[in-house]
Symmetry: C2
Subunit: 493 residues, 2 copies
């Protein structure tokens, strides 16, 4: 259905390249509703794979799924001061519950008599509505921990949107837990960050740095926010998932309390953590190339496409029969294979389409191949093309897919390493961020003033204080005062 | 977490019994947002099972999933006249996109400067937004059929709500397809009704009648609506899933056209079909009893619960060890088993809790049982209690679960049969609907006047014209005019 269109080169215009890749792979497009995207079947199939893997991980760590209302009463949002401060400017507000015929006979209008007493906010995140329920559900230490996750759509009004990366409505999961102690909540917060890291590295093959957000970058209402920051092919950072230790901020606002073993009534300690369709943007910007999308095998909806090549009806019959055998052999190994037997497209058009869609492996099979007992195998990421024996083909492909998964991750890590700079001088900092953007590790005194000035002067924001801090201490890159830790600065999505 | 509470008897107050069962099983509860429910983890786990089974069926019939915006511009909803007529009175309307601090210092208020130029409707169903995209995507016969499904939340403002059965927000899937011909669309419509019937009968063990809706009961904008109408234990009908042949109504409103093989530009033929969390209500009202929820094994999140019985720490150790063995044996057969080893509850309290949650099979195991090489097996639906050998236990349980699935379906069918009446006289009709409500099969002339008068006088609505019509022709139950077909009348949810 997609129109044929050339993909802009990454080096010429990275932003346009990104949009071209999304369009060429038929993953998503803008809808007539400002800021809202349509996730098309191919894009959604990739998201379903990511979602299913993450859902299994979330359940394996003891969490259960549930579902809470789309709407949040305005007064709930206001209960935690810094929370409402963080979200008020981007809320979609429901004010009425009925339409009526326009008295002027022109379609329908909002019925002024159906005005809500209290406006409802379309959830930008669900802390407030969920914790109002937790306050009812939690009575004693026996009810703890509460380990609930929700898959949902959320809305944050955005003026400037980009498919997957920034849309008014997006899909995500949000975990919300309640614990008896601060330490248990902290352990949970870090455990879930680790789950995100596992997903991002071992399935999506993203290269990232886990760490802690600065005070100004933390979640509205949290004590501490942890993040995984992935590096894109233009050297920019993408926040791929965050996990928040909420402390007792919301517990106090919503009176979420429990009778502890010692008989005392205490506020619970809470966490929340979320990962969204935004990570699809990170996936695209990490691996894809000038020919289009490149997908790691573990999350590809189709891992192998078999393209039959024939001229006569006799050739068609025999080639399709061998293609079927190959497909069955691959499926027997749980490899997601399919034969493209559309007869109104040339093999060349098919090659092109599957390349744009990032299918990891292509197998070409024609009469000459069959005669020699071989098929042509092409790997999407490297473009490697080789003849392989038809008979043990499934084993070879299986190994190649495993290898491709590893290679993509190694390549992403190598790229991040090449674009990682430890910098001590602000002059050099400004030069690097301008000329070879990447992750800049620098000492920072912790003041919001330095952070804001750097952002103002260089457009680089603090991404995270990496957990992994090998060195001792130093001087703030901006003000020169003593600093304990390095933080990563980068331009970011 | 749920409070202990007695369940009202079905015969005393069916409505209250229903709510008590939902509460006792800890499935869902009302939220602070009027008309919106919270689906709690146990209720959501059942919905996830239903969703996953249906999702596989939808994919197995060639459909793909996608995701479209939550919001629909008001003008889109108005494009198909009878569609907007059907939904205008129950629309949640977004009018603003920002909050701001109250100038009076009291929390936040809607920012009057952030008023949308065109109001957005929270989707009550997605025909309009989806087909505005289909119009772009479909160009030629090669693009057909389009077979897309979406899992989503939708909002239809309701004044009187009941958990699962009628809520302002609910979860569902909505399939939306486009075809080259009327006949292909009709085949699709009936195929998906059949998928719903398969799910409802063979997994949820509902007893139902498939058929066609009358003109007044059909979907707003459809040519024809097909339905499966399930019978509840109070003799009322529950519409468990509907499939619509939309004809070319929306195709004309949204200009969804294709160049056919003959070179002519034609409007596509469309279908839509949906099944929602409402079916959870049907599940509860079909099988449950005065002790609480009863679940068919195929959709139970836990199929077997093992309750260890012990007094001393020594007994606890040996009993838990045997319980573990039993659990492993069951899991090896893909049976969803779990051991309830909470040590702050008595066995009696556990029996009670799992009965209320409808777990199909309970196994009790104590020191005496172990000594005799047996365990106590209790079936939730029948209450049958028997000693069974521990060693081939998994095989026995597996057969019992299969048998229970069959028995529940047979019981539901027998109940429907007993409450099905073929009636020729309107006097008798009124008596039956009042005294022994059920499905009444009567001839009907097809006029909306008769249909409306019957509804007015008896509270019974037309449910469907059953596909299965064994008899010839007769006279309308109301006006006495000649009638070709029988229709089912019933009180309904």
């Amino acid at each position: 259905m997609a129109q044929e269109k050339n993909i802009t080169k990454r080096d010429d215009d990275f932003s346009q390249w990104y949009l071209d890749v999304v369009e060429a792979a038929d993953m998503a497009e803008h809808s007539p509703v400002r800021g809202c995207m349509v996730i098309k079947p191919y894009g959604y199939a990739i998201w379903e794979n990511i979602r299913d893997i993450l859902d299994r991980m979330i359940k394996a760590t003891g969490h259960v799924n549930a579902y809470f209302p789309l709407f949040i009463p305005k007064s709930f949002l206001s209960k935690e001061a810094s929370h409402v401060e963080g979200f008020a400017k981007e809320c979609a507000v429901v004010t009425h519950y009925r339409l009526k015929n326009d008295p002027d006979g022109k379609g329908v209008v909002v019925d002024p008599e159906a005005k809500l007493e209290e406006e409802l906010i379309v959830r930008p995140t669900s802390e407030t509505i969920m914790y109002s329920m937790y306050a009812k559900w939690i009575q004693s230490w026996r009810d703890l921990p509460v380990l609930i996750n929700q898959w949902a759509n959320v809305v944050r009004w955005e003026m400037r949107t980009r498919l997957f990366l920034r849309t008014a409505e997006f899909l995500w999961q949000e975990g919300h837990t309640a614990h008896a102690t601060h330490d248990e909540a902290e352990t949970e917060t870090l455990k879930m960050l680790d789950v995100y890291k596992d997903l991002a590295e071992n399935y999506l093959a993203l290269s990232l740095v886990p760490g802690q957000k600065s005070e100004s970058e933390k979640f509205a209402g949290a004590l501490r926010t942890y993040t995984i920051e992935a590096m894109m092919q233009d050297g920019k950072a993408l926040q791929a998932g965050t996990s928040h230790n909420l402390g007792q901020n919301f517990a106090k606002a919503f009176e979420v309390m429990f009778a502890d073993k010692d008989g005392e009534r205490k506020h619970v300690w809470q966490t929340s953590w979320g990962l969204s369709t935004r990570i699809m943007g990170g996936l695209i910007m990490t691996h894809s190339d000038d020919k289009g999308l490149v997908l790691p095998p573990k999350i590809a909806p189709t891992q192998v496409v078999i393209v039959p090549i024939y001229k006569t009806p006799e050739e068609q019959a025999s080639v399709l029969s061998v293609a079927q055998e190959i497909e069955q052999g691959l499926k027997a190994k749980q490899i997601l294979a399919k034969t493209d037997n559309r007869d109104f497209l040339t093999p060349g058009a098919k090659f092109n389409e599957w390349e744009k869609k990032g299918v990891p492996v292509r197998i070409e099979i024609g009469p000459k191949d069959i005669a020699s007992g071989k098929a042509v195998f092409v790997r999407r990421d490297t473009g490697t093309k080789q003849a392989i024996e038809i008979s043990p083909l499934a084993e070879v492909i299986e190994k190649q897919l495993q290898q491709m998964q590893i290679d993509l991750f190694e390549k992403a890590k190598a790229y991040r390493k090449a674009k990682t700079f430890h910098i001590d001088s602000y002059e050099e900092f400004k030069k690097v961020i301008e000329e070879t953007p990447g992750f800049i590790y620098s000492y920072w005194c912790g003041s919001e003033k330095c952070e804001a000035e750097i952002a103002e002067e260089t457009k680089a924001s603090t991404r995270c204080i990496p957990f992994d801090q090998t060195e001792g201490s130093g001087k703030c890159i901006k003000c020169g005062r003593a600093a304990e830790k390095k933080i990563i600065f980068a331009k970011a999505y």
